[in-house]
């Protein structure tokens, strides 16, 4: 335990982009609802990763959105995106979204499925 440790551990007292080396853009385009899941490579490599990437890999044994990753690890959304982008790039996690082009609106077929799902709640 050192005097500086509480600052490092208190999350929001640290400049948010410190953990990304100052980068504010992800290497891949990731909407906040993108589902993230650990890959077998990620499971093997978890112990070798830095703190935040390791936490993401461990958390994403259960598939979850980037927004959830951000909330659970108390990382700013953009920071979570940069870190997930790195992990996609290194093959430690895989991502999944609704459409090939994230800017598209869901098509009719998908909307039908959403409607069915809501009506069965």
């Amino acid at each position: 335990m050192t005097d500086s440790e509480p600052d490092v551990l208190s999350g929001l007292r640290v400049r948010p982009y410190m953990v990304t080396g100052g980068r504010t853009r992800s290497v891949v385009e990731l909407p906040l609802e993108t589902i993230v899941r650990v890959t077998p490579e990620g499971q093997k490599a978890a112990g070798t990763l830095n703190l935040e990437p390791r936490q993401i890999v461990e958390l994403c044994h259960q598939p979850m959105s980037i927004a959830e990753v951000s909330a659970h690890l108390r990382l700013h959304l953009q920071v979570a995106k940069v870190l997930v982008g790195d992990l996609v790039h290194s093959g430690h996690v895989a991502t999944h979204s609704a459409t090939a082009d994230a800017t598209d609106r869901p098509d009719l077929q998908l909307l039908e499925r959403v409607l069915d799902g809501l009506q069965s709640l």
Binding site: I35, S65, H76, A98, L111, G117
Partner: protein, 184 residues
């Protein structure tokens, strides 16, 4: 287990109109909060390198998740209604099914920025009057007139505390989005 397909709906509206209540009424999880930060450069100064001209804005968003099937998960994002949070809306509405604009008829003007934004961005949206005290102070058609909404935009009455009412509101939005998708 396959990865579920994520879809999202934006829940917009003014301060304290019941966005988080609406989300938590139907969410499988306690609503979570994510923070997004944006650095704005002061107007009239284009030197991005000068730290003194930058101002940081943080916006907290509450969101929930609803498992619709093994293969489909719906995220509901509640977003503050003020103009200054538009930077988040651009990202939120991208790829979204659409938006529910929650209104409180006592403070109807609070929803103007959200409605203007959704109209301009071409996002399918409905207006949901939150009759959270069990009293409907204004008829939906009066609200439509007050908001100068086109006929094809649904105006529904909801109760953000009740799961069934929230589900019906989401159903109304998805149906509207389907009509809009047919039309294009």
């Amino acid at each position: 287990m396959n990865n579920p397909i994520p879809v999202k709906i934006v829940v917009a509206g003014g301060f304290a109109v019941g966005k988080t209540t609406f989300v938590s009424a139907i969410s499988d999880i306690e609503p979570l909060t994510t923070e997004a930060a944006m650095t704005k450069v002061s107007e009239g100064i284009d030197d991005f390198g000068d730290a003194k001209t930058k101002k940081s804005t943080t916006v907290a968003m509450d969101f929930g998740r609803v498992g619709l099937s093994d293969e489909l998960v719906l995220y509901l994002f509640g977003t503050p209604g003020q103009d200054r949070f538009h930077f988040m809306w651009d990202e939120l509405v991208r790829g979204a099914i659409g938006a529910c604009v929650l209104i409180d008829t006592g403070r109807i003007d609070q929803c103007f920025p959200a409605i203007d934004y959704m109209e301009n961005a071409g996002v399918p949206f409905i207006v949901a009057i939150n009759a959270f005290d069990g009293m409907l102070r204004h008829h939906p058609e009066d609200v439509r007139e007050a908001l100068d909404l086109p006929r094809h935009i649904p105006v529904v009455v909801t109760d953000a505390r009740h799961r069934a009412a929230v589900r019906d509101t989401l159903v109304a939005l998805v149906r509207h989005a389907m009509t809009m998708a047919h039309a294009t």
